[in-house]
């Protein structure tokens, strides 16, 4: 889902950048409020986790691949704004250092995988928490977050053929329309990468609960 440079028209990425700047400023402010000696270990490790987990490319039928994001875990632990900042930081490092995702379209990648994934996961968790089995709630939070992000990416890519055609009628930007991008991008996340994100969310949250409980028991904090 890391859109590269050149795939998206300026008429899409410039408004996205204008929208993303104030959102990132709020997210940064909320992250500064959330960061302290106590939260630091989890906040930084889970952000590093999101960077590392995105390197686990999973092949799927059709010759393509994809990966989890780790947004839901941060969103459930620290709220959607902090999660959006942490994922955006990961995306920025990926774009700047590794050329993974274009810098010119950073705002779109940040809005999709950072903001939309985090907010969707957070609200699904909030809505379902204590109403269903905890493992299922965690799975569904992760699944819906990444599927929501994939929808944004599919739309951003799929509208490009409408936004620029050269003199011989060839598209200037991404060449496939929504009829192709929606099934390909959203479909693969519904069926595969959403499931991976769901299980990752479930397992990591259980791991966190386990190590937090251990500490609580040992030091009898509460």
């Amino acid at each position: 889902m890391h859109i590269p440079d050149g795939f998206i028209s300026p008429s899409t990425y410039l408004p996205a950048t204008v929208a993303a700047i104030p959102l990132l400023m709020i997210a940064f402010k909320k992250t500064k409020e959330a960061i302290n000696d106590e939260s630091f270990a989890f906040l930084s490790s889970l952000t590093a986790f999101s960077f590392v987990i995105m390197m686990f490319n999973i092949p799927i039928p059709g010759g393509t691949s994809g990966h989890a994001i780790g947004a839901a875990i941060l969103a459930i632990m620290f709220g959607p704004w902090v999660a959006a900042f942490c994922i955006s930081l990961t995306l920025f490092i990926q774009a700047l250092v590794f050329g993974d995702g274009g810098l010119s379209v950073f705002a779109i990648n940040s809005l999709a995988m950072g903001f939309v994934a985090s907010f969707a996961a957070f609200y699904v968790h909030k809505l379902l928490n204590n109403r269903l089995n905890n493992s299922i709630v965690l799975f569904l939070s992760g699944w819906s977050g990444i599927v929501a992000a994939s929808f944004v990416v599919a739309v951003a890519l799929g509208i490009q053929p409408l936004l620029g055609v050269d003199s011989v009628g060839h598209p200037i930007y991404f060449p496939f329309g929504l009829n192709v991008t929606i099934p390909a991008v959203v479909g693969s996340h519904v069926l595969f990468f959403g499931v991976v994100e769901g299980f990752a969310t479930m397992l990591v949250m259980k791991f966190i609960a386990k190590i937090s409980n251990q500490r609580t028991n040992k030091e009898v904090v509460i």
Partner: protein, 100 residues
Amino acid sequence: MSQNKKYLLAFILVLIILTPLGLVAQGPAWGEWSVEEIRAMIGFVPQSIENTKPLIGAIIPDYEISGLSPIASTWISAVVGALLVFAVMVGIKKSVKRES
């Protein structure tokens, strides 16, 4: 170091050691094709995709370091990425402390 920090660090380290598993995926993510792949697919390369160069050249493009094996490149990339994340987070934490 507190018990929690040890567990978290061990968790990230184990994942970093396992990152070469991501190399088993041969194909790129859907849509993230190279110019050659797009040409093979539709017979031409859209102008903007052909001509747009990255604003800043990546230091380790595609997580590959020339002269090193894919596995070593992946490990170094994972360590560099994780360290950069920690460095920025430490920076933010310090700036918050200074402000307060």
